[in-house]
């Protein structure tokens, strides 16, 4: 105990004796000075322990004196122009916050005054920029409707072009997601205390990757202590009850953000414990948003195929997609991608005669087009011919359905993907008529589940008319394929 006191005293004296021009080099060597940092962390924790063990009064007063000096020095570090010195102060923020909040909860005014002053100072420093204007951290909210360097809206499928996505796109550059502006404060009271400490923690979190690892460790410890303070199982009735520390959702969310970072930067166990503690507390306080995030983090650790902290650096490891490891994938699997909204052709070439066919689809049970080879009879309309009466009442998913059937065996369906040639022959030049191909779900599966060979799938294939864009032909599944070897070669199993 005495050695770190000694260290701190030396450290205090060293800084006060510094000349103007020496500050820079002092700062440079200071940032990663673990010894002094450890000593200061010790000071804060010892401070904490005096509560439980009730040191003698004299000792207490001495501690408070040191604490005051340290806080003054830390604040002068923070106000100095040296980034390293600012960062040095910053690393203590979680511990300071813990110390402060627990002192407040216990009503120990004497010890927390100096920390409070330091925190107010840092807070007021951080909520304004260099020009004294309120600082705002903001970013644009990306929308899937706008293409980005990582995607194109259409390739994700129209289901993601929701109204809200489009609205977000519209507002992308005007309505930003903001942190701040926050008001400067003169005094901390019960109402603004948690806002101030969340803001401080936010500032701290923005520097996480530059801070010494030691600080991450203490962040986790502080987080755990803050949320479990006063929750310990009582060992005996004689010990005095320790008041709990008040928390707010946004404060807890900041704690989790920091702990998540620490989890993948060497402090897995501590950080996981911190997140679990926060989860427990969030349940206790009934903060649904915090519960979402904590259970998301815990679940992602439990459930994830890869991305575990011990999986490799930063928890990133090679995760092979199953499509490449399992060679065969059943063809009749239905995925979300199997459903396609009907896309109108980019250009509508209205041709005489076609309009009537389009209209008559609902009326006629079948239209035979001039097909070639084995795919001659093409049926359109809602009622699939082979499915007898049962299927007629079966709800179909698209606007138009079309069953392609093998001539010889009506119960088999052949569906090719990316087989442009066949498509062209099927559509017979009138590509835009074949704008939605859908095979109705197997009535047997749905209704009685008996005749397995009556397999018809529930896939709607999007065919975007003449401009045979192969990408839009993707059907993740083609079912019950009974084809000649030549076609078998062309099939792509679902991915």
């Amino acid at each position: 105990m005495s050695e770190w006191k000694h260290l701190i005293t030396e450290w205090l004296n060293e800084y006060t004796s510094l000349q103007e021009n020496e500050v820079q080099s002092f700062a440079a060597e200071h940032e990663h000075n673990h010894e002094i940092a450890t000593a200061i962390f010790n000071l804060f924790y010892c401070e904490d322990e005096t509560v439980t063990y009730n040191c003698e009064l004299e000792n207490d007063a001495q501690l408070v004196q040191i604490l005051e000096n340290v806080c003054t020095q830390l604040f002068s570090f923070y106000r100095s122009k040296e980034i390293q010195l600012q960062r040095f102060t910053l690393q203590f923020i979680p511990t300071l916050i813990y110390n402060y909040l627990s002192s407040v909860a216990q009503g120990k005014k004497k010890t927390y005054r100096c920390i409070e002053t330091l925190l107010i100072g840092i807070y007021n420093f951080e909520v304004v920029d260099e020009n004294g204007k309120p600082k705002v951290v903001s970013f644009r909210l990306p929308s899937l409707a706008q293409s980005s360097i990582y995607h194109e809206p259409l390739s994700l499928g129209a289901q993601f072009l929701t109204e809200s996505a489009l609205r977000r796109w519209e507002e992308c550059n005007t309505k930003l997601v903001n942190w701040g502006p926050l008001p400067q404060v003169d005094v901390i009271n019960a109402q603004n205390r948690l806002k101030i400490v969340s803001a401080l923690l936010f500032v701290y979190n923005r520097q996480l990757s530059l801070l010494p690892k030691l600080s991450l460790r203490h962040l986790c410890i502080a987080a755990s202590r803050i949320v479990t303070h006063g929750f310990e199982k009582k060992q005996g009735n004689d010990s005095k009850r320790v008041p709990r520390i008040a928390v707010s959702p946004s404060f807890l969310l900041e704690l989790i953000a920091g702990a998540y970072f620490a989890m993948f930067n060497e402090f897995y166990t501590l950080a996981l414990q911190a997140v679990k503690d926060v989860d427990q507390r969030a349940q206790y306080e009934l903060f649904p948003e915090v519960m979402i995030v904590t259970s998301a983090v815990i679940n992602s650790l439990k459930n994830n195929a890869s991305g575990q902290p011990f999986d490799g650096p930063m928890g990133i490891s090679v995760a092979l997609s199953p499509a490449t490891t399992t060679v065969t994938m059943s063809k009749s699997m239905i995925t979300n991608a199997s459903f396609r909204t009907k896309k109108l052709p980019d250009d509508i070439p209205i041709q005489a005669g076609q309009a009537t066919t389009a209209e008559s689809t609902d009326v006629l049970t079948s239209i035979t087009e001039e097909g070639e080879s084995e795919t001659a009879p093409i049926q359109r309309g809602i009622i699939a011919r082979n499915s007898k009466a049962k299927l007629s009442s079966f709800p179909v998913l698209g606007k138009k359905t079309k069953d392609t059937k093998d001539k010889g065996n009506e119960k088999k369906v052949i569906l090719k993907e990316s087989s442009k040639g066949i498509w062209n022959s099927l559509s017979g030049g009138s590509g835009d008529m074949v704008d939605g191909l859908q095979k109705t779900a197997d009535s047997s599966v749905e209704t009685n589940g008996t005749s397995k060979d009556e397999k018809i799938s529930m896939t709607s294939v999007h065919n975007s008319s003449e401009n045979s864009d192969t990408r839009s032909h993707i059907t993740p599944d083609s079912l019950d394929i009974d084809t000649t070897p030549r076609f078998a070669a062309m099939q792509v199993s679902s991915v």
């Binding site: 644009r140 909210l141 980005s148 990582y150 109402q191 990757s209 679940n299 994830n304 991915v495």
Partner: protein, 827 residues
């Protein structure tokens, strides 16, 4: 590479090429054997093709991993023979030697002889290949060669004596191999949309950035990920891109904050029309994959934007691949797709909620519903998100929306419906039930909320969980609200009883929970047990010294007659509550009321004005906050207000007022039907209440005209509030305009039929008008409504006395006297 001879076997060759491109090796070998027998001059080519076919066919079945090495050594000798044949002079002439060498490298890798493999690559001069357009099959061979070379370099034990420089060089070579391999793979997959990458190529793709991270070069790793992700998607890269998207988002979340981040640079759209297929995609070289380069792209500028766009894209891709088939044969695929989607949804929750982007999370969870049948985690998350949404709504719009058709109502209904489904999936989760209960309470569905809380209680009792005390507390709060809401005496008493039982139990179970003590104090106060209430308040303040609600309760208790009116204590408690929560309406109002009694009226007036300014200074912010509330990050001011409102006992008031609010709303929408005026916002209601409080203070100061002005202000804000009518009635009563006062009180009662104060004052008005029968009826109703109110009985006594019924009047007066002590002075 594979030379195309101008021979009669041309047709053959196209066939062969086709089978090779489609990886139909059986057919390729067959065709090659025919080729060999038909045209002996193509022997080298045929050997190569047979060797290749056999090798690839084998590898399709047994991927080149460690466990398969022995098998490979056994079974690949034939392929090795053919390929070695193809590397002779004739092979070189036929132009297949290079490919054969590359394939031999692969073969040796499969056999576990890494040095051998490297030797072959050296022979093929792999590292000096020029970057030029390659046929599809060759692309794959070269990509695989680079990948395998990388693996071999990685696998090969480095002698420890090697110099550092050498090691670094070796590592650089390894990474270069992987990077080239990944570029070529992506290009290959873009060109051949039906092909699959295979484990070798896919591992190589993911390996490069991991090596960078391991070596501490975070930025190189991120750049590598970006390289790969900006490449245009093709059918076979979908799964791969999903993984990479997630990984990049994870790396950014776990390793990059603030200043460390460097934003990506967008690929400039191609000038002119060099690219034929689509202008949206550009390629930087013959060995580089095509990249997204649409106009008006979203290019992230900071880490938050990049993480969000990645997670959103990834989540959309994962949702697209979600397997819907429920039959057992797809269970594995379904599980996998669900897990991938979950990983991204979880990341989204982590990245978005911190910024208050709740709608984003809610949307993604709603999408996930489609393919997460029976998945407890998703359902629980969705239920929680729905509750968070509902509660946030309830806070921003106060009770304004809490009616059928309102936004908050909708949100609550939805939240309730979702948790109804989610509950069976998490049979041991008490917290979810408590969250449901608290949403129910705030929407005014008290019975349902109580049912939820009791269900949670049963769960926690069974497993002795940590939330047991809280379950009791919420059940207690429910009954407390029920007691306040109901007007039927037996029900009320029963509910009070149950509430007390639960609250006492909660406080016993967790003597450190200030909220339990606070509600217990309220309950005791309601039931007239003031000493117990004081004890509970003390315990509450011990657990949390700054709980302003408890301080207010303490102030009220001290102001009660039976406490001997400890004025100073009451005043200082209220003042303390005000210092702790200077922006809390409740604290200010209480303080003002007490100041009015025992301090100077001016001080009270000043407090009242401060209260008013609290709401008017934010008037401009109000308009902005309305639409933006959802996106406003870290805005927990509303949260705090609600917290303190709950702590200040507003929840109980709300239960009773909800009904009145609904009528008010109906009137409002009826009146505004033509004018199209929106119902008053929460802030307007707060301001109106502040005006009414001021009016009250003015009345007590005998400044009737000022009070009338205050009421007019309030009426402009909330014209149909029963409180406005009530206060206006008071103003009229103060100037002895009893007819007008009567009308006002009647109006107030029409909106809120059980508003006790209006009822009592109506009785007073009747009494003044000399209509004793009506007066007695009104006052009796009031006394029946709340038998604990001393002033009701006092009024009744007066009315009965005037009606010349002295015995009854005496009884009422006795009741009033007995109850008098229990009433806080300023209420």
């Amino acid at each position: 590479m594979t030379s195309k001879s101008k021979n009669a076997v041309r047709g053959f060759e196209t066939e062969i090429d086709k089978s090779r491109e489609e990886a139909n090796w059986k057919k390729a070998v067959e065709l090659a054997q025919q080729l060999k027998s038909r045209s002996p001059q193509h022997e080298s080519l045929a050997h190569f093709l047979i060797g290749e076919g056999k090798l690839e066919a084998y590898l399709d079945e047994w991927p080149p991993i460690k466990e398969n090495i022995e098998r490979a050594q056994r079974e690949l000798s034939e392929a090795r023979g053919y390929l070695t044949l193809a590397t002779d002079e004739a092979g070189k002439k036929a132009g297949v030697a290079l490919d054969a060498q590359l394939l031999l490298g692969k073969l040796n890798y499969a056999c576990g002889s890494y040095d051998e493999a490297l030797k072959h690559y050296k022979l093929a001069e792999l590292n000096t290949l020029t970057e030029k357009e390659l046929p599809v099959r060759s692309l794959r061979i070269v990509a695989e060669s680079y990948a395998i070379k990388g693996f071999c370099l990685e696998q090969n034990a480095v002698p420890s004596s090697t110099s550092r420089y050498k090691q670094a060089e070796r590592e650089a070579e390894m990474i270069r191999c992987f990077e080239l391999a990944s570029d070529l793979t992506l290009l290959y997959l873009q060109r051949n949309s039906s092909a699959r990458a295979g484990p070798t190529l896919e591992t190589a793709l993911q390996r490069a950035p991991i090596l960078h991270i391991r070596a501490g070069r975070l930025h190189s790793a991120i750049d590598r990920y970006r390289e790969m992700l900006t490449a245009v998607e093709s059918v076979s890269t979908q799964a791969l891109r999903l993984t990479l998207t997630r990984q990049l988002a994870e790396v950014l979340l776990r390793g990059v904050t603030g200043q460390v981040y460097k934003p990506p640079v967008a690929v400039a759209p191609a000038q002119g029309t060099l690219t034929r297929r689509r202008e949206d995609h550009v390629s930087e070289g013959p060995w580089k994959p095509k990249k997204y380069a649409a106009l008006n792209q979203f290019v992230p500028r900071n880490e938050h934007e990049e993480v969000l766009v990645l997670v959103l894209v990834g989540e959309a891709m994962a949702a697209r691949d979600g397997v819907l088939s429920q039959s057992a044969e797809f269970a594995a695929a379904r599980d996998h797709s669900l897990h991938t989607a979950l990983a991204l949804i979880d990341l989204l929750a982590l990245a978005a909620l911190r910024w208050g982007l709740r709608p984003l999370v809610l949307e993604s969870l709603e999408r996930a519903m489609k393919f997460s049948f029976g998945c407890a985690h998703v359902w629980r998350q969705r239920a929680l998100a729905a509750h968070a949404h509902a509660q946030a709504h309830a806070q921003t719009h106060a009770q304004a929306d809490a009616r059928p058709g309102g936004g908050a109502w909708d949100a609550s209904v939805r939240a309730r419906a979702v948790s109804q489904r989610a509950r069976p999936l998490v049979p041991h989760d008490a917290a979810l039930r408590l969250v449901t209960a608290s949403t129910d309470y705030s929407t005014g569905w008290i019975e349902e909320g109580i049912a939820m809380a009791e269900e949670a209680l049963a769960i926690e009792e069974e497993q002795q969980g940590p939330l047991l005390a809280r379950c009791c507390l919420y059940a207690g709060i429910g009954y407390q609200m029920k007691a306040q809401k109901t007007n039927y005496r037996l029900d009320k008493e029963a509910a009070n009883e149950t509430s007390l039982k639960y609250l006492v139990r909660a406080a016993q179970l967790d003597p450190n929970d200030h909220l339990a003590f606070y509600h217990l104090a309220l309950q005791y106060m309601d039931m007239g047990m003031l000493n117990e209430a004081m004890d509970a308040t003390r315990s509450c303040l011990e657990a949390r010294a700054e709980c302003s609600g408890a301080l207010i309760v303490a102030a009220k208790l001290w102001s009660c007659a039976c406490a001997g009116r400890r004025q100073t204590r009451a005043l200082s408690a209220a003042a303390l509550a005000r210092t702790h929560a200077p922006h809390s309406q409740h604290a200010l109002a209480t303080h003002a009321a007490l100041q009015l009694l025992w301090d100077t009226p001016e001080a009270a007036l000043a407090t009242g004005k401060e209260l008013l300014s609290l709401f008017s200074c934010d008037a401009e912010a109000d308009a902005e906050a309305g639409g933006r509330a959802e996106l406003d990050a870290l805005s927990d001011s509303q949260q705090d207000d609600a917290q303190s409102a709950r702590a200040a006992g507003h929840s109980s008031v709300r239960a009773e007022m909800a009904e009145a609010g609904r009528v008010e709303r109906a009137l409002c929408s009826g009146a505004s039907g033509a004018s199209g005026r929106a119902p008053p916002s929460a802030r307007a209601q707060h301001r109106a209440r502040a005006w009414l409080l001021l009016a009250d203070i003015c009345l007590r100061l005998d400044r009737v005209s000022a009070a009338a002005g205050c009421v007019a202000e309030a009426a402009a804000l909330t014209p149909y509030s029963h409180l406005v009518f009530y206060t206006r009635g008071l103003v009229h009563a103060a100037s002895s305009e009893w007819l007008e006062a009567r009308l006002c009180f009647q109006n107030a009662l029409a909106i809120h039929p059980t508003h006790l104060d209006s009822l009592l004052h109506l009785g007073e008005a009747y009494y003044r008008l000399g209509w004793l029968g009506l007066a007695e009826k009104a006052v009796r109703e009031g006394a029946a409504l709340q038998p604990g109110r001393a002033d009701a009985w006092a009024r009744l006594a007066r009315v009965l006395h005037a009606a010349a019924d002295p015995p009854a009047a005496a009884d009422a007066a006795i009741a009033a006297l007995a109850l008098h002590a229990r009433r806080p002075a300023h209420l």
